[in-house]
Symmetry: C2
Subunit: 192 residues, 2 copies
């Protein structure tokens, strides 16, 4: 993106902005190339020079979001309780609330959340493996899926609410839920 012609950089920029604007009110699968180019004031032929579908453009936006926030997803970003990568991701989402509402919300593509989940999974489950050496990775993956889905649901509720709860209070709730779920999961695993 850096070493591109200014014209190309401009085209990609306005197309990205146009898509984000349209996605505020319409699902990605309903966006036409025509309306996208009209919104961006770019010739329709130009779109095809860089992408083939609106989804391609969305994937580029998602990738840039990951690149720009990679630090939050790295295993040792934040020293906290066992799910520190989860905490890092939460922080990142809270700091990028607007764009996250669009690319993670109901008008975005679930592919992005799945990708985030897999990025976070490894570090978290590695930690649990050491903590609960008696249990298989498969079992711990189940637990991770459960906590990740539950947490993301709360975050998305909050994001789509418009954020009536304060950021601090949401973070606090997630932290406590994660902590107590971890306790519960310990019990869950002991039973086996």
């Amino acid at each position: 993106m850096e070493n591109l012609d200014n014209r190309v950089r401009y085209t990609k920029m306005v197309l990205q902005q146009a898509l984000l604007k349209i996605l505020q009110s319409k699902h990605i699968d309903k966006v036409t190339i025509k309306e996208l180019c009209e919104e961006a004031k770019v010739n329709r032929g130009t779109f095809y020079l860089h992408y083939s579908t609106p989804n391609d453009l969305l994937i580029e936006i998602e990738q840039q979001f990951i690149d720009e926030n990679m630090a939050y997803f790295s295993p040792y970003f934040h020293q906290g309780y066992e799910t520190s990568q989860l905490a890092g991701m939460f922080t990142c989402i809270l700091k990028n609330k607007e764009i996250c509402r669009i690319i993670m919300g109901k008008n975005g593509n679930p592919r992005f959340l799945q990708r985030l989940q897999e990025m976070i999974r490894k570090g978290v489950v590695d930690g649990w493996c050491k903590e609960f050496p008696k249990y298989s990775r498969t079992d711990l993956d189940y637990v991770f899926d459960f906590i990740f889905a539950g947490s993301m649901r709360l975050i998305l509720n909050w994001i789509e609410d418009g954020g009536s709860l304060s950021t601090a209070e949401l973070a606090n709730r997630l932290d406590r839920l994660g902590h107590y779920c971890h306790m519960a999961i310990s019990e869950f695993l002991k039973l086996k």
Copy 2:
């Protein structure tokens, strides 16, 4: 549906079957009316006599599923621990694995899961309200969202896996997860 002309009943039936077949390999938003009618061997004009989009047809399928399984979602279907409606829904999904894979899975419309969630919520949260009278319904709704999303994630993983885990084992895990989450939630709420 019962008191309809045989011709209408037949048309709706083959269209439903055709859609379910197509949804095994394609997202609902990508299904065209043309291919749907070709699959069902029904004239395209006939489709418009009953529906206006493939989504309308899917909504009808979802509604019939709800109607046929209403018993599982009623508050006192099954006497178990506090989340008996959740258990009822799990049972229902396990018994209708194939159609659930389609209408709840990645090719279906999330609207259906949201609807199920709201059907289940009231009974469950009512119970919790009695058990934890100190806490607001808003707080308990948060907890419900968390557990529902986590549980559904596990169920859908299992459904889309093809079911490597046995039904009994999945039910057992969900039951234990629900039980221990409930314990954890008690702790979570005490903290406040």
